[in-house]
């Protein structure tokens, strides 16, 4: 059942510096709208990507481009523990999710699958281009710079290794 995800992996490699186009979402974007439960019975990450954000915008997966950035409000990723939610975003090409706050399980899952996330409130419109320095937690939108909450170093290391599996392979068992 394990499929080759190479073709679906549109994510960029350098996660420290990201420049991307903004897709805006509101508060309380839950995991059921990010990826509905009926699509979870697979290990083909391309299927998750094909239905990403279907609950809010059924066309989103066809519109989102590699390297794009999501900017959302409070409590992003609330709801179920399904790791398919950050996987769907990552394999759809989303380079980073910026939200005013994240639900705690989504926060862990995103780091564990190597999807950069940043907690910050930023003022921007859909389609704007923003620059993100994930290492230092700095977001630049035109001339305006935002200092976001910096991730603890050990989480940055996991992200830099592409997620927890990659990190575990690199550093061995705790």
């Amino acid at each position: 059942m394990v499929t080759n995800n190479k073709n679906n992996n549109k994510n960029i490699n350098n996660i420290n510096k990201i420049t991307g186009k903004v897709w805006k979402f509101g508060d309380n974007v839950d995991t059921d709208v990010i990826i509905p439960g009926k699509y979870l019975r697979t290990t083909d990450f391309g299927i998750f990507a094909a239905h990403v954000m279907e609950g809010i915008d059924p066309q989103f997966s066809t519109k989102v481009q590699k390297g794009d950035v999501i900017v959302a409000g409070e409590n992003f990723g609330c709801g179920s523990s399904r790791e398919q939610a950050p996987l769907a975003l990552k394999y759809a090409g989303v380079a980073c999710v910026i939200a005013s706050s994240f639900a705690r399980i989504f926060f862990r899952n995103a780091i564990n699958v190597g999807l950069p996330i940043i907690e910050a409130r930023i003022d921007c419109k859909e389609g704007d281009i923003i620059e993100i320095d994930t290492e230092n937690g700095i977001i630049a939108h035109g001339n305006v710079k935002y200092q976001a909450t910096k991730l603890p170093e050990f989480l940055q290391e996991i992200l830099a290794d592409g997620g927890l599996v990659g990190h575990r392979k690199k550093v061995g068992v705790v």
């Binding site: 839950d30 019975r41 523990s81 639900a103 862990r108």
Partner: protein
């Protein structure tokens, strides 16, 4: 002075820790179900480790897609079963045994003072037994499979004290929905909740599970009811091992103190599409329904089914009504007591123990334009089927509403 969470996580980390500290904690029990187990097993294999840390501390119930109804689902089940055999995991509960959050308590894994991590967001249910229990994703679960350890941030704690006697027809679910209405869907994000007060002490273990189960709907990391005689009685003969109940110090540090008097609480309803979109039933009565779902890890327990049967006895439902007992043992008890017969005669459909339609996978999916009143825990947009509307209520409200074909007040019949 320490809260329950600080004490349990200090013990699990082998050093004194306080809120906001990061710890590497030793896990007492780890649970993954068929929904999250697939990716957890995949990640475990990719980590390149041959054997799990302790097969006796891993529990795998199949509940999300049971029985398998697609060839893909069957294949994924097959893969997990094979891995379970290879790893020598004996705490495996195959299809029909029940929902993980009922299976663990029934089998004595949900124990006071333990640190229990589940690859499911509603793992906070085990807080009903005085455990620190929380949900994580699949890769975190793989990490635990490998080492028995996980990094955690020690949460701050909100103390909720509930006083007053619940009126007839008002249940733990109504109390829970009312608390969520007040705190909001992210009001307890990253935090633990400790529940106190005479109302909480008066709740049965099943009702405490309903309460703790929905702590995640406020974003909470865990929700804990301190263990008492009811807890010990429930666990008598069930507990898998010795346990040491943990209590907060009298002057423990709480980040927030909230009080509720529930003497005048009405039945509560969460309207679509957020769990904190809660209203008194009087504001929602008359909403037409297409389906009623009674079950889930929130409200599929014996006393829930019994309460429904009392209302449906000798009558006929007006809308399709789907009932999923939360476990095999509940189904057996409900069969032997006549509850199932009452439900069937009233026109309800009984489906096998499991999560069923709660997450919109099967056994009662709704479509565009349909409305379901559900005793489950989430009414997110599209959760039970694209375009469908979900209202949440207690089993009593669901039962009387099934008879009327529209949302109705259970106090009229109780």
């Amino acid at each position: 002075m320490p809260t329950i969470s600080e004490k349990i996580l200090s013990r699990a980390a082998g050093k004194q820790v306080v809120a906001d500290d990061f710890v590497i904690a030793n896990i007492d029990y780890a649970m993954a179900h068929d929904g999250t187990g697939v990716l957890a097993v995949k990640a475990f294999k990719e980590m390149g480790v041959k054997k799990v840390w302790d097969p006796g501390r891993i529990i795998i119930p199949f509940d999300h897609y049971t029985p398998a109804h697609t060839d893909t689902g069957a294949k994924l089940h097959q893969g997990i079963r094979q891995w379970i055999r290879e790893q020598g995991i004996t705490n495996f509960f195959d299809i029909g045994e029940g929902i993980c959050h009922q299976v663990l308590p029934e089998n004595g894994f949900a124990l006071p003072g333990k640190l229990i991590i589940g690859a499911d967001s509603h793992s906070c249910t085990y807080g009903a037994f005085g455990a620190f229990a929380t949900g994580v994703g699949a890769t975190d679960m793989a990490e635990i499979f490998v080492s028995g350890k996980l990094w955690l941030r020690v949460p701050q704690t909100i103390r909720i004290t509930v006083e007053g006697k619940l009126s007839k027809g008002v249940s733990a679910k109504d109390l829970t929905l009312n608390i969520i209405k007040n705190i909001g869907t992210d009001g307890a994000n990253y935090k633990a909740i400790e529940y106190y007060g005479e109302t909480i002490q008066g709740l049965s273990m099943a009702q405490r599970m309903t309460l703790c189960n929905m702590s995640i709907e406020m974003g909470a990391k865990t929700g804990i009811v301190p263990a008492d005689e009811k807890t010990f009685t429930y666990l008598n003969g069930k507990a898998k091992e010795k346990y040491e109940p943990v209590y907060a110090d009298e002057d423990a540090n709480y980040c927030e103190d909230l009080y509720y008097d529930v003497a005048n609480l009405e039945p509560q309803i969460a309207k679509p599409h957020e769990v904190d979109n809660v209203f008194n039933i009087s504001e929602v009565v008359g909403t037409p329904l297409d389906q009623v779902f009674i079950g889930s890890c929130t409200n599929g327990r014996y006393e829930d089914l019994e309460a429904v049967a009392k209302i449906l006895h000798g009558k006929q439902v007006k809308v399709r009504t789907i009932v999923l007992p939360a476990s095999r043992s509940i189904l057996i008890k409900a069969t032997e007591s006549g509850v199932i017969s009452t439900l069937l005669k009233a026109g309800a459909v009984i489906a096998p123990p499991g999560c069923g339609p709660c997450l919109g996978a099967h056994q009662g999916v709704i479509c565009e334009g349909e409305t379901c009143l559900s005793t489950s825990n989430r009414n997110f947009k599209g959760r039970m089927g694209a375009g469908g509307l979900i209202y949440l209520s207690s089993p009593q409200t669901a039962a009387v509403s099934a008879l009327r074909g529209e949302i109705a007040d259970p106090r009229e019949v109780i």
